[in-house]
């Protein structure tokens, strides 16, 4: 155990201790209000560049296991909790959370008044912060923190995207007798495994492309639909993806989630803005304006598409956040384009919105039909 400090860019400090590795780490500090699912949070590539504060105070209770990963490694820059569990309990657990964090050299601290920290971030907004077990001098830490670029304007996609194209293989999956129904090209901006698992289970063969893949490279596989994934950082700076996506509008169905949704919004000519402290949790109520049901959704985003920046003749709002009335889903009135700010793949979080994937399937089905007719 080692004394640790969290230094925020506005000069606020919190004292804690590290049970895992030592050293220093910096990133944008955000809080997550989900009470379960810390392993999924840690491995969600969308958290790249961020230090995550868990508002639920007891973390690590069920250890970690082989299945509940959303990528191949932990992506958070640092992890802040009230209390780490010493002795976990769960039949699937293979190791403790602390071991897991240690293995991947993630600086994680406990003993923080996480509620006070959360309130601070809510009132002041998400901000940069640094965790250190070496240096406790505010001036020094402030200096170091100044070197770290802010989230706005940062391209984190390039850090997390797949180095090369691959086809997702879901183990033990029995696909239909006729093999996969749809071929999906997924642009990996930091894609969560659960998206791939669900698409595969729904009968898709998912070809995962690096974010910088070219239009032709993608077209080469003759996809039935284009999927743009979730991911970290500022959507406005990933021009290379925005431009690619534009090329598919009206060609094949396009479906985006989270960062993918923001990219779709930008590709349609809209604007994005940074939310004060974002939505990170598993209890966000979203109203689906198509069928008026309210879903409790999993969310993880710091940026948002400004609905007013989009042409009302072309784009309609199909989902709204009931808490702050921000845009949660959009649909193109003429073309097969659909995107959602929240996470139908959950992981962690409620499965209420999983039906959204069916929309994508229907779009591809309709597209295939017309394509056949056209042929």
């Amino acid at each position: 155990m080692k004394e640790a400090i969290l230094y925020l860019e506005d000069g606020t400090t919190f004292q804690g201790r590290s049970l895992s590795s030592t050293g220093e780490t910096a990133g944008e500090v955000v809080f997550n209000t989900a009470m379960t699912g810390y392993q999924e949070v840690l491995t969600d590539p969308s958290y790249a560049g961020q230090i995550v504060v868990m508002t639920y105070p007891l973390i690590g209770n069920y250890g970690v296991n082989e299945q509940d990963v959303e990528s191949n490694k932990i992506h958070v820059k640092g992890f802040i909790v009230k209390e780490f569990c010493r002795r976990h309990s769960n039949f699937r657990a293979t190791k403790s959370l602390i071991e897991y964090l240690n293995e991947q050299n993630i600086l994680a601290i406990e003993g923080i008044d996480t509620r006070a920290l959360t309130r601070h971030l809510r009132v002041q907004g998400a901000m940069k912060g640094m965790i250190s077990t070496k240096d406790f001098d505010g001036k020094v830490l402030a200096g170091k923190l100044a070197q770290i670029p802010s989230m706005e304007g940062s391209d984190w996609v390039k850090e997390v995207t797949a180095p090369k194209k691959y086809i997702w293989k879901e183990e033990g999956l029995v696909s239909g007798p006729a093999g996969p129904i749809y071929k999906v090209a997924a642009i990996d901006c930091g894609i969560k495994f659960n998206i791939l698992r669900i698409l595969t289970r729904l009968g898709c063969e998912v070809h995962v492309f690096p974010a910088h893949a070219g239009v032709e490279e993608i077209k080469a596989i003759q996809p039935d639909g284009l999927f743009i994934s979730n991911g970290p950082g500022d959507p406005a700076v990933v021009n290379y993806v925005i431009e690619t996506v534009k090329k598919f509008f009206g060609v094949i169905p396009v479906f985006g989630i989270c960062l993918g949704h923001q990219i779709v919004g930008l590709a349609l000519g809209g604007k994005t803005y940074k939310l004060k402290f974002g939505h990170h949790g598993a209890n966000q109520p979203v109203k689906d304006l198509l069928d008026h049901r309210v879903c409790i959704t999993s969310q993880n985003h710091g940026f948002c598409v400004n609905i007013d920046s989009l042409s009302q003749d072309e784009v309609e709002m199909i989902g709204i956040n009931l808490n702050d009335k921000t845009l949660e889903g959009l649909r193109h009135k003429k073309m097969s384009i659909l995107s959602f700010q929240y996470h139908p793949e959950a992981a962690p979080g409620p499965h209420d919105a999983q039906y959204l994937f069916n929309y994508f399937m229907e779009m591809m089905k309709a597209h295939k039909k017309t394509a056949r007719i056209n042929v």
């Binding site: 919190f14 809080f31 209000t33 989900a34 009470m35 379960t36 699912g37 392993q39 999924e40 508002t55 639920y56 105070p57 007891l58 209770n61 069920y62 296991n65 299945q67 509940d68 009230k82 209390e83 569990c85 010493r86 002795r87 976990h88 309990s89 769960n90 039949f91 699937r92 008044d113 996480t114 509620r115 006070a116 959360t118 309130r119 809510r122 949790g281 598993a282 209890n283 966000q284 109520p285 109203k287 008026h292 049901r293 309210v294 409790i296 009931l322 808490n323 702050d324 959950a346 992981a347 962690p348 979080g349 409620p350 499965h351």
Partner: protein, 1105 residues
């Protein structure tokens, strides 16, 4: 869709008396529903037989019927009121069952009454186990293997097929009455027989035992648009096999991964949809196999439940209020979350603390019974604690229970406990298992072994081990150093160690620990319960303490002050903590009333309480709510942050009263009756002296600090004597003893209860009439609000005795004497607020038995009977009003045209083998009220409400002690005239026959054994409709106990006093009259009280000034 306009008048059913398994959580839910529906402009008709509830306050409904909750009476109410709809999902199992019966008998259809929340088919599908099982299987979920049985033979066959052990659950009961786990065929026969009998439809389910699996509960809400949210998940520390009500439970679930939690959530949603609960709250129980995660569905309640109350308090999400709104047509997204004022109710609370609920047992009241826990609920109350960690919350919950533990401490020396006992106490669930977990670890057991033997998840065991490790570290440090270093002391506070626990470890007074702590700046901080883990700004005035860096209470207080208004004066009200026998809902009623009254006067009110079932812990009752244990330390923490102008200790029962002196010494301004006066009333010697100087009679008495002294006093005043410890409530350990042997036995038993305080010995006045008086005094003037005559003779605890207001048999001279004595005592004590006195009348003498300068159990009853809000007036007096401000009538008791009877409800059926003879130690859990124009009718209603159905025909068994033999003749004659056939034992029969009463003789014993006797088989064969058995003194008290025990088992009403028998005969006669089913609301009764209007105006004026 906004609210439904096709309905105007709604009948809301309450849950009746407090019984084990159904406590004041339904007052909480009913009150919330009343408020929510009235707010929407509906006309509310309320039916409930429990006078101690807030919901039966006449201002909460348009028409309030305190009538028996039976189909006949509810039909009468429907006939009279013609409501458009009935809302049965907020009054517990009682209301649900009642609505089912009303539907089945066609009453609802006949009068065109719609069922809101859940309809007949839905309730049936959820409650009928076979229907439920089929529904669950249909949606691809799993239930434990099970078979139904309606006979013993079927039960045996089922058990053979499934394999022992099996769980037996009766269909349609509450709190698991009549269920159990059978390990052998003998056990199976016994439990199955009981189960078949206690089921409303004589059916049981024999089920695969999943004892030892992890148990979970989800609280679900659904609206008519099919939006579903999970309000809260709960994980039980005690695994399957212990009733949830008896388990220590934790929110949120701790050891589920998100995957497992989400599949449980999916299952819960699918179940609610399949069962078809239209709107409102439900709860669903799951069991999970700890080895492989296999999940099975246990049961669901298609209504608001005890767990809903807990979930509401644990998250801040007002389930009952929203359930009521959903029932009348709103959807979740149309309701605003009060807490954030911005976000809608269609969200799932997320919490940033840990909640622990611990059950409160009262096995000490039933010494014949072992404290073993099973699937039948035994606890009578609970306390909830909130902390930032499980360790903190657990220790807070344990000290909140008020069972002598200051946290997870040692009450016994673990070294003295043999290994076998540890093993047994871990293996077999029991009331003190949580402490034995620690003892086992102290004895060197590994956490894994403790988990293995107890089947409690290792996560919990390790948390307990951490508490123990810190305790050991503290001890080791104290061996080397005089004081604890700051970080260690802070860590101890973070782990939930109380000052008292630390004081014991450091061997210094608790006050010194506190002082040291404050000097070092280790002070409690308060955090907000906000449903959203601080994601949104919250406006809830609902706090818990913890040891962190930021205090939100002081921030909120500062913020509310900034508005430029002058600071309001603050009054803090201390609640009663967990319900227990002797201290329950009545005190919560008084606390709420104090808050209402003072708020109306412009004070800021602050509530401190730890009982999640109550109305007082609803966050919109007071200006600020602190969910804290009622200990000196925890109360002082709140005082520290609030600095109240006054603290009220006299409304929450004995709990806050016991803190009064220490609080005053610490400089806390106690308002109302002075601590010194409380002391005079509680200290037997000082009290005796006072009564003597006033020239009032009292039984000869003395107080003893040693065994010799006690024996000397008893022989001086003469046996029988009433012996008891001082400073207790509910007659705890009180006993009538007939000789010195009995006295010695008593002293031995009382040691634990009295905690070093003296033992009181009074001459017991035999065959006296007992009278209870509730009065209000402003320090000078006294208002006698209620005089209640007990039906049973003195010697039976006032809380267990039925009583009548106004008193039917006491002469005017004696009543005046009682009034005068009351006034003189009140003035002498300078009581400011409420006062309760118990008198005994023997011949023409009035003796004072006891004076309690605080709210009494009968305050709500008197308020309902007379229409005078005692607690509200008392609260106003405590902040400086005078009685003369209220213009109270002097003769209101004489003016009453109606009669009110209070009857107690006893939990004997929960404790098999217990003798049901009443005595000076209180045993009842709740009460009902019968109100009518004659005594007979009122009594009959009270009996029907208390679930001792009055009889129309059948055999009555009479067996009385010699003293009663003459009087029983008249009773028997009247019963004979009404067409009952009588049977009795030889001695009683001889007297009856000599007086011309036809009676059949029956032998209670067969060859010296009671099993198999003629009488026993008649009871078993349900041939006996009523038993009247008055036992004589101590020595022979036990001779008929097997009859009385059998009576409980077979649900035969049993009367044990002559006075009770008299009243019963009156009641039976009245219930045969044509007009018996006429119902009248409280509002109508009050019309008759001419003074009422005048009085009400005064109250209003008072509120304005």
């Amino acid at each position: 869709m906004p609210r439904r306009n096709d309905i105007k008048k709604i009948l809301l059913l309450g849950s009746g008396p407090i019984v084990i398994g159904q406590a004041c959580e339904f007052d909480y839910s009913g009150t919330q529903a009343c408020k929510a529906l009235k707010e929407e402009g509906y006309e509310i008709v309320l039916a409930n037989s429990n006078p101690a509830t807030i919901m039966t306050d006449p201002e909460f409904a348009d028409r309030t019927y305190i009538e028996p909750l039976t189909p006949e009476f509810i039909e009468a109410i429907i006939k009279k009121e013609r409501p458009c709809a009935i809302l049965p999902t907020l009054g517990g199992q009682t209301a649900l069952n009642l609505a089912m019966k009303l539907h089945e008998s066609g009453v609802l259809t006949r009068y065109g009454v719609k069922m809101l929340g859940a309809n007949y088919e839905v309730i049936k599908k959820a409650e009928d186990r076979e229907c439920f099982k089929q529904a669950i299987l249909k949606i691809g979920l799993v239930v434990p293997k099970s078979h139904f049985a309606r006979t013993l033979e079927e039960a045996k066959k089922a058990a053979e097929d499934i394999g022992l052990p099996v769980i037996i659950r009766p269909s349609f009961t509450l709190g698991g009455t009549g269920g159990g786990i059978a390990h052998t065929m003998e056990e199976l026969e016994k439990i199955a027989a009981l189960g078949i009998e206690s089921s409303m439809i004589n059916e049981i389910i024999v089920e695969e035992s999943i004892v030892g699996w992890k148990e979970y509960e989800l609280e679900v809400m659904r609206d008519y648009k099919d939006n579903v949210v999970i309000v809260c998940s709960i994980e039980n520390l005690d695994p399957m096999g212990v009733h949830t009500g008896d388990s220590i439970t934790v929110a949120p679930a701790q050891t589920l991964t998100d995957r497992e939690y989400q599949s449980m959530r999916d299952a819960a949603m699918a179940i609610v949809r399949e069962i078809g609960v239209e709107t409102g709250g439900s709860n669903i129980q799951f069991a999970v196999n700890p080895q492989d995660g296999r999940m099975v569905v246990i049961e669901m309640n298609p209504r608001v439940s005890r767990s809903s109350a807990l979930a509401s308090k644990a998250t801040g999400f007002p389930i009952a209020k929203f359930a009521a709104k959903l029932a009348v047509g709103y959807s979740l997204d149309e309701i605003q979350n009060d807490i954030t004022k911005e976000t809608p109710a269609s969200f799932e609370p997320t919490i940033d603390y840990c909640v622990v609920k611990a059950p409160r047992f009262t096995f000490e009241k039933f010494p014949e019974v072992q404290d073993i826990l099973g699937i039948q609920m035994k606890s009578v109350g609970e306390t909830m604690a909130i902390g930032r960690t499980f360790k903190e919350a657990l220790q807070k919950s344990l000290r909140g229970l008020e069972i002598g533990h200051k946290g997870l401490d040692n009450k016994v020396d673990y070294r003295q406990i043999p290994e076998e006992k540890i093993e047994q106490r871990l293996r077999e669930p029991n009331a003190s298992r949580i402490f034995y977990l620690k003892y086992a670890l102290q004895k060197g057991w590994s956490p894994d072994r403790v988990a293995e033997v107890s089947k409690i998840d290792i996560w919990f065991i390790d948390q307990i081990a951490q508490i123990l490790e810190l305790e050991n570290e503290l001890k080791e440090t104290l061996k080397k150093e005089q004081n604890l270093p700051d970080p260690l002391l802070r860590k101890a506070k973070e782990y939930g160690f109380s000052d008292a626990q630390l004081a014991a470890l450091m061997q210094i007074p608790e006050n010194d620990v506190r002082k040291m702590r404050l000097e070092k700046g280790i002070i409690a901080t308060f955090k907000l319960v906000d449903t959203c883990s601080a994601e949104f700004e919250a406006y809830t005035p609902y706090f818990y303490s913890t040891y962190e860096t930021e205090d939100e209470a002081s921030l909120q207080i500062q913020k509310s002050r900034k508005k430029g208004e002058p600071a309001k004066k603050k009054i803090m009200i201390l609640g009663g903590g967990p319900n227990r026998i002797g201290q329950g809902i009545e005190f919560d009623y008084c606390c709420c009333h104090a808050s209402f009254a003072l708020k109306e006067m412009g004070f800021e009110t602050i509530m401190v309480n730890s009982n999640p079932e109550t109305v007082s812990t609803d966050y919109d009752i007071s200006d600020r709510l602190y969910f804290e244990p009622l200990t000196f330390e925890d109360v002082m923490n709140v005082v520290g942050v609030e600095s109240p102008d006054g603290v009220i200790v006299q409304f929450g029962g004995q709990t806050p009263l016991n803190l009064a002196r220490r609080l005053q010494e610490a400089g806390v301004p106690i308002i109302g009756t002075s601590v010194e006066a409380i002391d005079v009333a509680e200290d037997r010697e000082k009290f005796s002296e006072l009564i003597k100087t006033l020239g009032i009679y009292q039984p000869a008495n003395g107080s003893a600090r040693s065994v010799d002294e006690a024996v000397a006093i008893a022989s001086r005043i003469g046996y029988p004597v009433l012996a008891r410890p001082s400073y207790v409530l509910g007659g705890r350990a009180m006993k009538i003893v007939y000789d010195s042997q009995g006295l010695l036995a008593f002293i031995d038993e009382a040691k634990e209860v009295s905690e070093g305080r003296p033992i009181l010995i009074d001459k017991f006045i035999e065959d006296a009439i007992e009278v209870d008086v509730d009065a209000i005094c402003d320090g000078q003037e006294t208002f006698v609000a209620g005089i209640m005559e007990h039906i049973e003779n003195a010697g039976i605890h006032s809380g267990d005795s039925a009583c009548v207001l106004p008193p039917p048999t006491i002469s005017e001279i004696l009543l005046n004497q009682i009034k005068q004595d009351t006034c003189r005592i009140a003035q002498a004590l300078k009581v400011v607020g409420l006062l309760n006195i118990q008198f005994a009348i023997k011949g023409r003498k009035v003796y004072v038995l006891e004076v309690n300068p605080r709210a009494s159990r009968t305050v709500p009853f008197v308020s309902k009977a007379t229409g005078i809000p005692l607690a509200k007036i008392a609260a106003r007096i405590m902040v400086g009003r005078k009685l003369s401000d209220f213009d109270l009538p002097a003769d209101h008791l004489e003016q009453l045209k109606h009669v009110s009877v209070k009857e107690s409800v006893l939990p004997f059926s929960r404790f098999s083998g217990v003798d049901i003879v009443l005595g000076p130690e209180m045993k009842s859990t709740g009460e009902v009220m019968g109100i009518a124009m004659t005594f007979g009718e009122a009594f009959a209603k009270s009996q029907i409400s208390a679930n001792q159905t009055l009889l129309k025909s059948g055999k009555i068994f009479l067996s009385v002690k010699d003293d009663d033999k003459r009087a029983i003749v008249f009773i028997a004659k009247r019963l004979m005239d009404m067409g009952f056939s009588l049977i009795s034992t030889r001695g009683t029969a001889k007297v009856l026959r000599a007086n011309g009463v036809q009676v059949e003789v029956v032998e209670p014993y067969a060859q010296g054994q009671h099993e198999g006797s003629a009488l026993m088989s008649m009871i078993k064969g349900n041939e006996i409709a009523l038993i009247v058995n008055t036992p004589s003194g101590e020595s022979s008290q036990h001779d008929m106990r097997f009859i009385r025990a059998a009576a409980i088992l077979h649900n035969v009403p049993c009367i044990t006093t002559l006075q009770g028998a008299w009243a019963a005969v009156n009641g039976i006669e009245s219930s045969r009259t044509k007009d018996f089913l006429q119902v009248r609301s409280l509002q109508e009764y009050y019309l008759d009280i001419s003074v009422k209007k005048n009085f009400k105006m005064e109250i209003d004026k008072c509120a304005v000034s």
